[in-house]
Each structure stands twice: as C-alpha cells, then as structure tokens.
C-alpha cells in the first residue's frame, strides 16, 4: 500500500486540502499513515459490531411468535452478516488482512459497539433493537455515506439502504405490541425502558471527551459530532415514542423552546465506560460465542481450501 510510505509536509498539506474540499480518497492514493490507521480502526470496529450484533437478535429466531416475524428476523440477521462483510472488505483495501481483523475481535483487542453487550430478555427487545438501535445506527451512518474514503462510503450506502428495513420492522413490531393486550404493552414499555439509555449512549462520549473527533472531522471521516448526532436521534425518537403511546424513561426529558430541541436528563457515563471496558451484562458471553463459532467452523474453512486445491489439480490434469 502506498499509504505506508511517509509523505513530505507538502504531501500532507495537499491531502488535507483535498479532503477538506470534500475530495475523495481511493485505496491506491497516497494518504497519511494516521488516516489509514484511523480508518482501519473505525471500519473494523464497525464490522465487528455488525457481526457481534447478530447474536442478541439471533437469540430470538427460534422463538419468534409467528412465521412472518421469523422470516423477517432471519433476513435482518443475514443482513447484519452482509454488512459485516462489506465493511471488512472496505477495511482490507487499506492493506490489512481479514485474518488480522478477525483475530483482533477474537482476542478482545478490537472494540465493537457496546450496545450489543446488553441482553435481549423478551420478544419486545427485538422490536426495540430495530426501532432504537438501528434507528440510532442510521443517524450515525447516513453522513458516513459522504465520508472521504471511497470504499467506506460505498459500503455505507448499501448498508443504509438495508438499515431502513431494519428500523421499520422494529417500529412495526413495537406498534403491534403497544396496540396489543396490557401485558404486551407492558412488555414494549419495559423494552423501551431498558434500551433507551444504551441507545442514547451509542453516539459515544460527549464532544468534550471524544478523543478522535477533531482530526476525524478535519479528515471528513466523521461529519457531525457525537452530540449533534445524539440530539438528532433524540428529537426524532421522542415523536416516534408518542406515536407508539410509550413513555421515554426520563423524568427530566423536556422540550426546549429556545433551541427547538428535546433535552434529556443526565446520561450515566459511568455505565457507558464500564460496558466499554468489558463489564457489561454480556461482554464475555458475546466474545465466547464468537470464538466458539469461529473454532467450530475451522474444519469447514479447511475443507473448502482442500476441495478447491483438489479441483484445481483435477482441471490441470485434464488440460495436460
């Protein structure tokens, strides 16, 4: 990769001007090593999140309440796998191998979105994930469709198209429950109670504490700050909760006339950092499951390689 060559100050300045003017960067272009490194970290974290994100919902496929809900959920979990693959491919254009990336996830050195370290206790959680978690993901990801790195932006275009189905099926599921029996409505409210704050925290720490933000915004890897995106999510979700007849679990939530935005109460950042550091309800379970699946699939990967080698040898013999 050319990106690994150290550039002169002139190269750096030219690069900053190019991306600053909304220019795009493609894999073969020269880029600062720190730009490539940041992208690999961000894209692979995002890919890992998609892969780990298959678990909380996959957990409910066998228990979906109808065939309709079951096929929807299978399609959604399959999409998450697809999203992980688009993103790994985008990261690989920066010269890192898939094996390295997978290894970083398996040995716990790479992070993934903390939201997936919360458990899915009831069927309503499947709806809450689609509505809130995918809703938050869309707010986060739509701007990335315009980010400076071409392969990442293109992967994100595909992903955003598909996320819209995810969010809508989740909202529809919540709607069905909230218009159902008292017990179903309680279940929907309980799911909102548990998923609201973790979803609000999905946008990351407040702007003042966000380590990578400034440089990433200059490089147009990030186009809006964590707090701007969080506000957008809160404003749109408050109205959606009203439509569902559900109550956002925040006694301090109020509409601020002056700014025209909904303001939430204090966010428990101690909980956020605790989950990031590995102490969430399901961190160990999620990684253990991924490791087991990886190891259990090893023979399939090896068999496929052996079969491909045999086929190549066979066609070589035929040609000779």
């Amino acid at each position: 990769m050319q990106s690994m060559e150290a550039g002169s100050q002139g190269d750096l300045d030219a690069f900053d001007r190019h991306v600053g003017a909304d220019g795009k960067v493609e894999p073969q272009d020269w880029m600062p090593a720190a730009y490539a490194k940041t992208l690999v970290r961000q894209i692979s974290q995002h890919a890992h999140s998609e892969i780990i994100g298959m678990q909380p919902e996959g957990n409910w496929i066998s228990r979906a309440p109808s065939l309709r809900r079951k096929v929807i959920l299978m399609a959604k979990v399959q999409d998450e796998a697809g999203h992980g693959l688009y993103l790994y491919s985008a990261a690989e254009t920066l010269g890192v191998s898939r094996d390295e990336l997978e290894q970083q996830l398996l040995d716990g050195t790479a992070k993934y979105s903390s939201i997936f370290n919360y458990p899915t206790l009831t069927w309503a959680d499947v709806g809450a994930i689609g509505w809130l978690v995918d809703g938050a993901a869309i707010v986060n990801q739509i701007p990335i469709c315009r980010c400076s790195y071409g392969p990442y932006a293109r992967a994100m275009v595909r992903i955003c198209k598909e996320e819209s189905f995810h969010q809508r099926q989740g909202f529809e599921l919540m709607m069905a429950l909230s218009k159902g029996t008292d017990a179903q409505k309680r279940m929907a409210q309980d799911a909102l109670n548990r998923w609201w704050w973790p979803s609000v925290m999905m946008f990351g720490p407040p702007d003042g504490e966000s380590v990578h933000s400034m440089q990433n915004m200059a490089w147009r890897i990030k186009l809006f700050s964590n707090d701007e995106l969080r506000q957008k999510f809160i404003d749109m979700t408050v109205k959606q909760a009203e439509a569902l007849g559900l109550t956002i679990p925040d006694p301090d939530l109020r509409f601020d006339e002056a700014s025209g935005h909904w303001q939430v109460g204090e966010i428990d950042w101690d909980e956020f950092w605790s989950v990031v550091k590995g102490h969430g309800p399901c961190n160990r379970q999620r990684l253990a499951h991924r490791r087991d699946a990886h190891e259990a699939g090893a023979w399939v990967r090896e068999a496929a390689v052996a079969f491909a080698a045999k086929e190549r040898a066979r066609s070589a013999r035929k040609a000779a």
């Binding site: 050319q2 493609e26 073969q28 272009d29 020269w30 399609a75 399959q78 999409d79 697809g82 693959l85 688009y86 491919s89 985008a90 690989e92 191998s97 898939r98 094996d99 293109r154 992967a155 595909r158 598909e162 090893a298 990967r301 090896e302 496929a304 390689v305 079969f307 491909a308 086929e311 190549r312």
Partner: protein, 96 residues
C-alpha cells in the same frame, strides 16, 4: 488460521439488469471461483440487485497507478478537436 489456508480475495461485479454494464459491487473471500459466485449472490444480491454476476480474483486485476495519471490522461487534454463543441456551425442550421 495459517496463511496458506486463507481464502483468496475476489472482486464482485454485478449487472443489475440486461442492457446495463457490470459494475463493481465490492469484494469477498472464497476458497474458489465457484464459491465466490455463490457467496456473491448471498452478500451482494439479497434484494434483486442483480441479473448477472462476475467474480474475478483480485490478484488478477492490473490497475493503473495514481502516480501515472499525468502521462496516461494529459495527452487527451490538449486535443479539444475531439469534442463536438470545438466546431462552429451557424445557429440556424438544424440537426447537427
């Protein structure tokens, strides 16, 4: 996984419908071309995006280097006579 066990990378090109060209959709790993084709179907055409798929081993693609941009494309820049707008014709002459 040992390096020789790593599945090679394939680039995936998809024709969305007849009459249009194949367009690069992304890439994926597969043990061989047949598996790459099957996986491309699952990864890149889950919603009727394709009517035809090409998979090409990434290692088989020869690409121009960005550094050669000048010598590759500059020669065309000063040949304005290749564009129809180079030629002046009277305004009242039609269909030309």
């Amino acid at each position: 996984m040992a390096t020789d066990q790593t599945w090679p990378l394939f680039e995936v090109f998809i024709r969305s419908k007849k009459g249009l060209s194949h367009v690069h959709a992304g890439s994926l790993h597969a043990a061989d071309a047949k598996m790459a084709l099957e996986n491309a179907r699952d990864v890149y055409t889950r919603r009727g995006e394709g009517s035809s798929i090409w998979v090409v081993p990434s290692a088989e693609i020869t690409a121009s280097a960005p550094a050669d941009k000048g010598e590759l494309y500059d020669p065309a820049d000063n040949k304005v006579y290749r564009h129809p707008t180079f030629y002046k014709v009277p305004d009242d002459v039609e269909f030309i």
